[in-house]
């Protein structure tokens, strides 16, 4: 081809390309009938209940044009009062999950064949009918924690099938805590704690900020006692072999040997009794307690637990000087062999320190208390393996993944004679072994009721039309178990009838009112406690196991991101890094640096851990948050099959655990020893999002002692160095001719700003998840996180104290909306634009992708779109229509939720007034369980932010650069322990 011909063709090609590039014509679809409560372009909110864990927080689902785009906490709900955690935010990604099963699947000859819902129901009818005729108990059902109405219906249906009650399986079922409550207070129950009233809180493993009982509720209550307020703050100390996120928020984490907690608590009891405490306890009971505590002298406690004397003394001193002490026991699983004894001893210690048990709420009980013990679950699967039933129904649980290998779940399911129906929306490890997968409606599409905590029956209503044709589980049961004498025509009418019968609602009007507000108050639970059954007390401590002194112990940690593993297919949860390790997508093995060097390992080395059960291979993460010899790993990832985001992603530590239940309390062990650890020779790059673990002496996440906070000591100002640069507000008053090159920026009426109280931040990452949901942030995947291309507009930074690496400070970092923004000055096309109200606007269509701004931003909050990120169908239905979806080649960053600012401005203009303080609530501020974030107008002298920036603790991250950030941080207040 001649050069000339080539140019001609190339010219023609590009011309025709350009001509063909105009947008194709789009359609705009009309509704057939307009719903009464829908105004196109405005959101409709439906109150419902979060079912991502058994806590049962109240939620409000934001519906735009028929699809749910955001979940927020219901402010009227007594459990969570308006906030939710990151798992709650990600409930949408279960609903819109691209791997959701849409029609029933029947296994035939090893392959899945889609069948209709009607055919599937007929199949269930015939299978259960046959089984019912064969004899008693031939149909079994395993479910997650159900609401009372559906539970009764399940049992009614099983009764029709000539079978017993449904078995409630929760991998986190708190067996040891229940047993300890039964033995000490004679209530086999899970009670609530008035944590907010305590002045000294001690936890021996309870991870109440992550998974324990009701994490959002306890995060709020924790900060009610632990935030710096009126010149004081409570004390929280955590004891345990590893530091969970809860432990990271303690004033002191006291590392002990796995299983050494019991000795510490018994030692404390002994000393308390010696100090004359426990006078309110009956004499003969005190004698028994004293006898139990006798062997645990101070020296023995040190020897057994591995706690240092100074730590033990400070724990004792703080606890004994408390006016309203509260001691919490272990986390959900046993991490050292003594979880039951520890919980038992903790109950006794509470009684000795405060015989009135003022911080115990025996009436507000957690619904998860109805879960069967692990031993009962194992017995069920053992029976099934032996052929005790013909039909097994599994609802919303994944026992094959959640139980260790050898526990019988797999064996039972693989038995040919057992017809397994999995009411699951996903092809998880259990469904894969089922004979029939019957997808049912998800909680956000369903009518139901759930009482997560006694005292308030929370309603569920469909917040969206149906994405699939799947019926609700209640309707399936009504259609398959009952023929002529159905208790109700549909599950909804069954539900209403039951609520009327229970006196919770009276008629249609009160029903609607309950739906509108999110639920109705119900009677409290029985509070009958008989105090102390002495023989069990003396009995319990005969068998305190020696703490693990073996070289290596492997421990599984319940995860704030995945709970028991059900969250692993929600991309936000996988993409948002673990709060402690800051590793996303992968499951690293946490090993203490001493152990790492003793074994000649390095971070990133893939090691093989071998237990009696089997082996796993995982990359090493060096961390001071575990004691030497402890190998700790988060539970939740490593699914064999659970959709594209979970499959072969991470590792499942449960596969190493012993399959049997602990005989004393019938609960699972989340630890195993001995284990061996060997280097495999491979290395893995860890997909971590932090640049460094420490601050390198920079002014980033600051803390101050309680004494300094009380005296209101301010940082020195008046200089130009890092430590004496004055706080410079992003207002005209912050202009200084000597320092500033650019002219003063004047504001009229508004200058938006945020205050972040580091003393309240627990590092949970709910803000980050809220931001992903609100602002259409792309999920980039493991490979791109490794390339440093994650898109989070708001990240929670985690900094260790280089002097004491186990001390951690969390810092939410988002665009600082500087008044003197380094990004604005370097853009060749003025894409970052300083708004009239101080916001740093990123104009997407102006951006040409030089990335100069990201380079010049000292806070590293700007994110570049290296690709056009994908939302696999139907995930795109979740996108917020008020926020532009950015495409490849464009820079983006936090906008302070400009769409919410605009909405508030619009409302204010309609009413011809100024925007009120607190009217604008960005997504991160809205969801923060501990109200660490406050947003408002700095120009208003009475706004909350304006008053908070006057706080002596206020500072600006790297303020000495004279960027004049509009995000003002308040220093964390630490007890010197």
């Amino acid at each position: 081809m001649k050069r000339r011909t080539f140019l001609k063709l190339a010219g023609m090609g590009s011309l025709s390309f350009a001509a063909g590039c105009s947008d194709p014509q789009k359609s705009i679809y009309s509704l057939v009938e307009a719903p009464d409560d829908m105004v196109v372009g405005n959101a409709t909110w439906y109150a419902s209940t979060c079912r991502e864990c058994p806590a049962g927080c109240g939620i409000l689902a934001k519906n735009r044009e028929g699809r749910v785009i955001k979940l927020e906490g219901n402010p009227l709900h007594p459990i969570n009062i308006g906030t939710i955690c990151m798992r709650g935010q990600a409930a949408l990604q279960a609903l819109y999950n691209p791997d959701r099963i849409r029609t029933p699947l029947l296994k035939q000859g090893g392959a899945w064949r889609p069948i209709s819902f009607k055919a599937a129901q007929r199949l269930i009818m015939s299978k259960t009918g046959e089984a019912a005729q064969k004899g008693r108990n031939r149909v079994r059902m395993v479910t997650d924690t159900p609401g009372d109405s559906i539970y009764q219906l399940m049992n009614g249906a099983l009764g029709r099938w000539n079978s017993g009650r449904a078995v409630v399986f929760e991998p986190f079922a708190y067996e040891s805590l229940r047993k300890a409550n039964e033995d000490v207070f004679s209530v086999d129950r899970l009670i609530s704690y008035r944590m907010e009233d305590a002045d000294v809180l001690v936890a021996f493993g309870a991870d109440f900020l992550e998974t324990w009982l009701s994490p959002v509720e306890y995060a709020r209550k924790f900060k009610e006692m632990h935030a710096f307020r009126n010149g004081d703050k409570g004390v929280f100390m955590a004891v345990g072999p590893y530091m969970s996120l809860t432990g990271a928020n303690a004033d002191a984490w006291l590392p002990c040997r796995p299983g050494g907690e019991t000795a510490i608590v018994l030692g404390l009891i002994g000393e308390a009794l010696q100090n004359g405490r426990g006078t309110g306890v009956r004499d003969f009971v005190r004698d028994i307690i004293q006898r139990a505590a006798e062997p645990y002298s101070r020296a023995r406690v040190m020897e057994v637990s591995g706690l240092s004397p100074s730590q033990y003394d400070s724990l004792k001193e703080r606890l004994f000087s408390a006016r309203r002490p509260l001691v919490l026991g272990t986390g959900t699983g046993d991490t050292g062999g003594n979880s039951f004894q520890t919980n038992m001893a903790v109950n006794l210690l509470n009684a000795v320190l405060d015989p009135k048990l003022a911080q115990f709420d025996f009436e507000s009980r957690q619904r998860v208390e109805m879960a069967s013990r692990r031993s009962e679950i194992l017995a069920l699967f053992a029976e099934l393996t032996e052929g005790a039933a013909d039909v097994l129904m599994i609802h919303n649980v994944d026992p094959v993944f959640q139980l260790p290998p050898g526990s019988g779940a797999r064996a039972a399911m693989e038995r040919d004679a057992l017809f397994v129906v999995s009411f699951s929306n996903f092809m998880d490890d259990t469904s894969r072994l089922a004979d029939l997968i019957f997808p049912t409606r998800m909680p956000l599409e369903s009518w139901d009721e759930y009482e997560g905590k006694k005292g308030f029956v929370s309603m569920l209503q469909p917040a969206i039309g149906q994405l699939t044709d799947a019926p609700q589980i209640g309707d399936v049961l009504l259609n398959t178990a009952f023929t002529e004498d159905k208790p109700a025509g549909s599950y909804k009418s069954y539900l209403m009838a039951r609520l009327i019968q229970a006196g919770l609602i009276q008629d249609e009007r009160t029903w609607l009112e309950a739906l509108r507000t999110g639920g109705v108050t119900s009677g409290s639970g029985d509070s009958a406690t008989k105090w102390f059954i002495p023989y069990t007390v003396s009995d319990a401590f005969h068998s305190v196991a020696d703490p693990v002194t073996q070289e290596l112990v492997f421990i599984g940690m319940p995860s704030i991101r995945f709970f028991d593993g059900r969250g692993a297919n929600r991309p936000w949860l996988v993409e948002i890094p673990d709060p402690i390790t800051k590793v996303a997508w992968q499951t690293p093995l946490l090993v203490h640096p001493e152990t790492v060097s003793a074994k000649g390992l390095e971070q990133g080395d893939v090691v093989k851990i071998q237990s009696k059960q089997g082996s796993i291979e995982a990359p090493v993460y060096e961390s001071e948050t575990v004691t030497p010899g402890v190998l700790a790993m988060s539970i939740g990832q490593g699914h064999g099959t659970y959709g594209r985001y979970a499959e072969n992603q991470g590792i499942n530590p449960v596969s190493l655990f012993p399959p049997d239940a602990e005989p004393r309390f019938g609960g699972p062990r989340f630890f195993i020893h001995p284990v061996s650890m060997h280097r495999t020779g491979h290395r893995t790059d860890l997909a971590h999002t932090d640049g460094s673990r420490i601050q390198h002496g920079r002014k980033i996440a600051l803390s101050t002692s309680l004494e300094n906070a009380q005296s209101g000591q301010r940082d020195p100002g008046g200089g130009l160095t890092m430590w004496d640069f004055p706080i410079t507000l992003p207002l005209p008053e912050g202009y200084d001719r000597k320092r500033d090159f650019y002219p003063v920026i004047e504001y009229e009426n508004y200058r938006w700003s945020m205050v972040v109280d580091l003393d309240r931040c627990i590092g949970c990452g709910a803000c980050s998840a809220g931001c992903y949901a609100e602002n259409n942030l792309g999920v980039v995947g493991e490979k791109q996180v490794l390339n440093g291309r994650e898109m989070s507009w708001l990240r929670v930074e985690r900094y260790h104290d280089p002097e004491q690496m186990e001390k951690i400070t969390f810092l939410p970092m988002m665009c600082q909306h500087c008044d003197n923004a380094p990004c604005e000055a370097v853009c060749p096309v003025y894409a970052p634009h300083h708004s009239a109200e101080g916001l740093n606007n990123q104009i997407y269509n102006r951006c040409i992708g030089t990335r100069f701004c990201g380079q010049n931003c000292p806070y590293k909050v700007r994110r570049f779109n290296w690709f056009t990120w994908q939302w696999p169908k139907p995930m795109h239905l979740q996108l917020n229509p008020d926020v532009t979806v950015r495409s490849k080649g464009v820079m983006e960053k936090c906008s302070f939720c400009i769409q919410r600012i605009k909405a508030a401005r619009n409302a204010a203009k309609n009413e011809n007034r100024q925007i009120r303080d607190g009217e604008i609530v960005p997504a991160c501020v809205q969801t923060c369980p501990t109200t660490a974030l406050v947003f408002g107008n700095l120009m208003d002298p009475n706004s909350r932010v304006r008053r908070l920036v006057e706080d002596a603790r206020a500072y600006q991250v790297m303020g000495y650069l004279n960027t004049k950030p509009a995000v003002i941080y308040l220093k964390k207040v630490v007890h010197e322990i």
């Binding site: 307009a34 708004s835 008020d882 400009i898």
Partner: protein, 183 residues
């Protein structure tokens, strides 16, 4: 030097340049034809053909139905909304009820099918236009949408930023990027 150009008769010039002349004429004819079909041919100023030949001229012009009757959310939301199928039938159950196009409308209703209207008014996707604000400021629909009541099939427009800015400047309205339009 003398003029060396050979003298040629006009006939021979035409004969010699037959090809280029034909080509020029052809171009002229094609251009005229193109301009005629694009600008003069009946219907060329109309918008795309819609699934149901709804006439804005008839409804908004001749019958003087208020814009807000069919686009009711314009005063309370960013989006004006397009009428649901049932709304058309409020009237058309009585007016020309047996007309074939109305029967098609019934079919949409009976089969619960949303009507796939062709979109004609385009804004870039990174722009969030607030109808409510403009209606509250008593900006007439026609100021942006033109004489809708005079057109059968709306042609619509792809709005450009200059169009917005010009008016915002004139009316002293918000010119801030994010606070005004982008987000």
């Amino acid at each position: 030097m003398e003029n060396m150009t050979p003298q040629t008769s006009p006939e021979s010039w035409v004969a010699q340049n037959r090809g280029p002349i034909l080509l020029t004429l052809l171009t002229v004819v094609l251009t005229v034809l193109f301009l005629y079909t694009f600008y003069v041919y009946p219907g060329s100023s109309m918008g795309p053909e819609q699934p149901i030949p709804f006439s804005h001229r008839l409804h908004a012009g001749h019958k003087a139905v208020q814009c807000l009757f069919c686009h009711p959310y314009v005063g309370e939301s960013n989006n004006p909304g397009i009428p649901p199928v049932e709304k058309c039938l409020y009237c058309h159950n009585h007016i020309i009820a047996k007309h074939p196009w109305i029967l098609k409308e019934h079919e949409y209703f009976n089969t619960e099918t949303p009507t796939p209207w062709k979109k004609v008014w385009y804004l870039p996707e990174h722009v969030l236009f607030n109808h409510q604000r403009h209606i509250r400021k008593e900006i007439a629909c026609q100021e942006c949408h033109g004489k809708v009541e005079a057109q059968d099939r709306l042609k619509g427009e792809r709005f450009k930023m200059g169009f917005c800015i010009e008016c915002h400047r004139k009316k002293n309205a918000n010119l801030d990027c994010w606070l005004a339009c982008h987000s």
